[in-house]
């Protein structure tokens, strides 16, 4: 993390610690006028929302997919479209989609065409598969075991039709994470890379790059111990204890957890954030040991597709992926997807007991 530079040289500009930008001026005028006075919405077609205000005003939103990792030119192009069709305003959603608003229905179709022409799919609304929560990966992060942008691109190519249509039982939110830290978060379906062995310790650099006590403290299972290697203070890992979590690598780059072969991809399902119907839920492990296979990770996409197909077949309207499984049971989930349940999917971490089947409730 960046540290404060303590001795500030002479400098003419005086920083204004302004915090976040104030939102008012950036809102579309119709949005500003009807702020907090919306009555309801409809979805005229995939990718388009129609919001109606108590005043009678109508505001259309067109949502489109982006690369998330963009360039000045790409954003300029989106600004052009906003100037032309959306009164000079635009916004991004929490999931890296871009949104244009206009009170003018006649702008909607031309805007959609312009977006599609420049390669931005219009969709992602309602019961579609939304854009994937995107993290950094090999492009920028210092601790990734895989890439993010490439995984997202590969999966979205495959799920494109589900993005531009609304054919799923309910919205599907996906996420990827390029290390177990899981910046992508909980999702209906998540792809997370998984370390498969303890860190190798780079004793050559450790004492130079490592604040040893805080590295020791970072380990959740107290597997790290001080030691001496070639006369220099270093650290060692008790391999039986280590759960390959990678936390130590975040504290000390000499705890090399990443490895091209000892990083596998895992699939998680059933995360949910909304409070609609069921309470929010953490996602659960349903597949692991898939190869970390750039540039297209075809095995991952195959499993993802397979799960989403089963959900699409079996889910009822409004049933989120995890709610579908809650109804049919995990046993049937594994049957429907053909995925193997194995011993590692039985929790053995802190609250393991609470995940066991403490009942005679069994589907046969």
């Amino acid at each position: 993390m960046a540290q404060n530079t303590t001795t500030a040289p002479k400098r003419s500009y005086q920083t204004v610690e302004s915090g976040p930008r104030a939102p008012e001026a950036f809102l579309h005028p119709v949005s500003r006028k009807n702020y907090g006075q919306w009555k309801y919405h409809e979805r005229p077609r995939p990718g388009v929302l129609k919001h109606v205000a108590h005043s009678g005003d109508v505001l259309y939103t067109v949502r489109a997919g982006t690369h998330r990792q963009v360039t000045v030119d790409i954003v300029r192009h989106l600004c052009d479209l906003a100037d032309q069709y959306a009164d000079g305003h635009l916004r991004w959603t929490i999931r890296n989609n871009v949104e244009f608003m206009t009170p003018n229905w006649n702008n909607v179709e031309p805007l959609i065409r312009a977006l599609e022409e420049s390669g931005h799919p219009v969709g992602g609304t309602g019961n579609s598969v939304g854009a994937i929560a995107h993290t950094q990966g090999w492009l920028h992060c210092d601790i990734p075991a895989t890439d993010a942008s490439g995984v997202v691109k590969s999966m979205m190519d495959e799920l494109y039709d589900e993005y531009v249509n609304e054919r799923m039982p309910n919205r599907v939110r996906l996420s990827t994470s390029c290390c177990e830290i899981n910046c992508g978060g909980q999702a209906d379906l998540a792809v997370v890379v998984q370390h498969t062995r303890p860190p190798r310790i780079n004793h050559a650099i450790l004492s130079d790059v490592c604040e040893m006590p805080s590295t020791v403290a970072r380990c959740p299972v107290a597997a790290i111990r001080p030691t001496t290697v070639n006369g220099k203070p270093s650290l060692m890992v008790v391999e039986e204890k280590c759960i390959f979590c990678g936390a130590c690598f975040g504290a000390c780059p000499a705890m090399e957890i990443n490895h091209p072969e000892y990083s596998k991809m895992a699939i998680w399902v059933g995360g949910k954030n909304s409070n609609a119907r069921s309470k929010p839920a953490n996602m659960k492990l349903v597949c692991h040991g898939l190869p970390n296979n750039p540039p297209r990770w075809p095995e991952v996409t195959q499993v993802v597709r397979n799960i989403l197909d089963a959900y699409k077949r079996g889910g009822r309207d409004w049933e989120r992926l995890g709610e579908w499984i809650d109804r049919i049971g995990w046993k049937r989930f594994f049957k429907e997807t053909g995925l193997p349940f194995d011993t590692y999917m039985i929790d053995n971490y802190r609250h393991a007991r609470t995940s066991l089947n403490m009942s005679a409730h069994i589907r046969f």
Binding site: E180, N182, V192, Q194, T196, R197, P220, C242, I243, F244, C245, K264, A266, G270, N282, M283, K284, L285, H288, G289, L290, E299, Q302, V303, N306, R327, I328, G329, W330, K331, R332, F334, K335, E336, T337, G338, L339, P340, F341, D342, T343, Y344, M345, I346, D347, N348, Y349, R350, A352, R353, S355, L356, N357, M358, S359, A360, H361, I362, R363, F364
Partner: protein, 411 residues
């Protein structure tokens, strides 16, 4: 509250309020007994209890009392204040194993009572929570003789301390239409097999078995036993169509909907016309619909047990309910029963090797790890074991499987 022969009693002012009220009073029962027999040990215990009610403190302490060759089965109690209550100086309990299901012929039971009148206080409890016939109040000097006489009559002691404990089972096939296996017979065989471990403490801690004929779990096995053997079935619920029609006729469709259909935990029931339809693939064998309509519905024909492991009380990790280890196992032939005994034997072995002092098997599995446990006893991981798969990424797998193998062959 008979009046005669009060000379055998000391005043118990702090207990007398417990002679009032409609429920059977143990105080009155004890007093009647003391009045009649003048049993001094019973009197001493009652007097000390009266003192406990005054001071709000207990006054018993343990010690070491047993019978030849056994290391368990007698709970020793010495008064902490024998100078005050010399008659209660000793007040040991003999835990006697009754028949599974707590059935007796009056003849056999009277034999026990006679022996107990001769050697003990004449007080007993029918039964302890674990399932023992508890003969409460005997002096060390009488224990062996009392036991020998009981043993000659066919009775044996139960467990205590770090042993396999006396088992418990529901009435099962002796009277209940829901019994999916022979609770009494299996209880008898399993506990007989472990007799040595019942009598001689050689385990990390206690190990309890309970046997329930169906998921109603009338023996509370899931909560109170390390090994809960619960009857279940694998095929479809049996439907007696005529009885079902009579039921609906009599109770009405509303009742059917409100008390049966909407109460199914997995929505496996639905109404079609005026009939109830069961989607057996979604049924989790909860028993509810069968409970409400016992004449119309019964468990399927392919019956067996579910084995849950690890139930126990609060100490020290908080109450643990047992969890599924074997979702289904037939329990009909002698082979089936031997298979169960074998499996549990392996579990007890593993636990004997891995358990810490005072650690029950459930805690031990939690500490050491389910994976190690399953490997050691030769069970395969099964999705029925969990309410849901893990929600954290902190595991170490062997990557010797092909996660894609089953894809395409999906149901």
């Amino acid at each position: 509250m008979s009046e005669k022969n009060d000379s055998n009693l000391n005043p118990t002012p702090n207990l007398d309020a417990l002679e009032e009220g409609p429920w059977p009073s143990f105080v009155t029962g004890f007093k009647d007994w003391i009045r009649k027999t003048g049993n001094t040990m019973a009197r001493g215990a009652l007097d000390q209890l009266n003192y406990s009610y005054e001071t709000k403190m207990g006054y018993w302490k343990g010690g070491v009392v047993g019978v030849h060759g056994y290391g368990a089965g007698v709970i020793s109690r010495y008064s902490m204040i024998p100078e005050k209550f010399p008659e209660a100086a000793e007040f040991h309990t003999m835990r006697v194993q009754p028949a599974p299901g707590l059935h007796y012929s009056t003849k056999a039971l009277r034999e026990v009572l006679d022996v107990w009148e001769k050697h003990g206080s004449g007080l007993l409890s029918m039964h302890g929570q674990t399932g023992n016939l508890q003969l409460q109040g005997i002096a060390q000097g009488n224990v062996q003789q009392c036991f020998d006489e009981l043993n000659a009559l066919g009775w044996d002691l139960g467990g205590a301390g770090a042993t396999v404990r006396t088992g418990a089972s529901c009435v099962g096939p002796a009277r209940c239409e829901s019994a999916c296996y022979d609770t009494l017979g299996v209880h008898h065989q399993v506990l007989s097999y472990f007799t040595d471990l019942v009598h001689r403490p050689q385990l990390p801690y206690k190990a309890k078995f309970k046997f329930s004929g169906c998921p109603n779990d009338c023996s509370n096995s899931i909560q109170r036993s390390d090994y809960a053997v619960i009857g279940t079935w694998r095929d479809d619920i049996q439907v007696d169509k005529e009885a079902m029609e009579r039921f609906i006729q009599k109770k009405g469709v509303d009742y059917l909907v409100n008390n049966v259909i909407t109460r199914c935990p997995t929505n496996a029931l639905s109404l079609r016309g005026n009939e109830m339809v069961i989607n057996n693939a979604d049924c989790v064998r909860c028993m509810h619909c069968i409970n409400v309509m016992p004449e119309a519905l019964s468990p399927g024909k392919e019956r067996g047990i579910t084995l849950l492991v690890g139930g126990k009380g609060h100490l020290k990790v908080g109450n643990m309910l047992g969890s599924v280890m074997v979702p289904f196992m037939k329990m009909e032939s002698q082979e089936d029963i031997d298979g169960l005994i074998d499996l549990v034997d392996r579990m007890i072995d593993w636990w004997s090797e891995n358990g810490l002092d005072h650690e029950r098997i459930g805690e031990c599995i939690e500490r050491v790890g389910m994976q190690q446990f399953l490997d050691a006893v030769g069970l395969e991981a099964n999705v029925d074991m969990v309410a849901h798969p893990r929600d954290n990424p902190f595991f170490k797998a062997s990557y010797d499987h092909d996660p894609l193998a089953g894809i395409g062959n999906a149901a």
